[in-house]
Symmetry: C2
Subunit: 186 residues, 2 copies
Amino acid sequence: YFANIISGVVKLTKTLSDGRQQVVGLQFASDFLGRPYRPTSPYSAEAVTRIHLCTYEKRQFERLVSEMPGFEHRMFENTLDELDAAHEWMLLLGRKSAQEKVASFLQMVAHRIDAVGCKGRLPGTPLQFDLPITRAEIADFLGLTIETVSRQFSKLKVGKVIGLEGSRTVIVLDQARLQRAASASE
Amino acid sequence: YFANIISGVVKLTKTLSDGRQQVVGLQFASDFLGRPYRPTSPYSAEAVTRIHLCTYEKRQFERLVSEMPGFEHRMFENTLDELDAAHEWMLLLGRKSAQEKVASFLQMVAHRIDAVGCKGRLPGTPLQFDLPITRAEIADFLGLTIETVSRQFSKLKVGKVIGLEGSRTVIVLDQARLQRAASASE
DNA sequence: CGCCAAGTTGAAAGGTCTCAACGCTAGTGG
DNA sequence: CCACTAGCGTTGAGACCTTTCAACTTGGCG
């Protein structure tokens, strides 16, 4: 089966035989799910929020490919973008410290939310958003433990870089400092 | 410019502003280089051996796309495979120990070499091959330091899992144990 | 009100990194 | 022919960061 996400968030994970898990992708509204041209996906997908999907079968996918000229092209471009994102994530996983990982994560979420959610946000207003996932899932995403993620959140909070309301709501107090803490690539 | 690799190995890297580097891909003979539909690649490419390329311009690429019906489709499938490989690598970078990383790396190279190089190898013969890259590059690939990579090679050698002739030539003595040391995904 | 899951915090253990010294090999020039 | 040098690789010791294990707190919900 294939699907497009209408609303909600889906995580793509890979797991080692002893249970260690790594999130290899987060898919948001309008993103595609499934592995074309293969019988099975090399990863598992799991909803992290309530979701609405638009599912269709392999057959229908093939019909779309053959009948809509631009369809496969668009899929191709999306896949190229996903590959770029994966590369960026490899840099994070391989070379960044826990502090940088968490800061980068917050920036990514802020960016995605900003692009979608709060169009009417006033410039200058501190950016605020809700994390779509739990600490455990963030840890699996960043290649860290829950405790380390929690400690880094606390550090950023104490340093007045972010504010927290409950454990899900994040307010970016100092975007410049968050940016620097994330150590973007050259 | 775009290119296909005729022979040799190319590494794709991303770098942080302070110089930390991560190899995000290794491209071998017959693989494609370049980022379609974007003015620039989000990574840099560097030859790690003497290479032969077949280069062509953006224009020619576009002509290939429009004139050869199956061309873009094949590119798409290759990209999907690269994405799968990237996901596998994210699991390695985020969740595996140094020991497992090095073992996984050796397995990957052995597999790639086996598929291409020594077709006439007798079953049962210990698999032998030359590493295409230096310790420093392996370290950048695995998200480790040179020293840690070196230590893990030594451990595998002492444990009789592999043998080394010089620093480039590797002989796999115990494929089963190497497999286990690599902790493949479920 | 009390329970359970999620999150936080502390202390100790462990793994990887850093810094430093040393070894090996190949190319160079005397 | 051979010391010499430079680059790559190995090894050791200590520092540092993340993990592990444990206790504790918070928040949502019956």
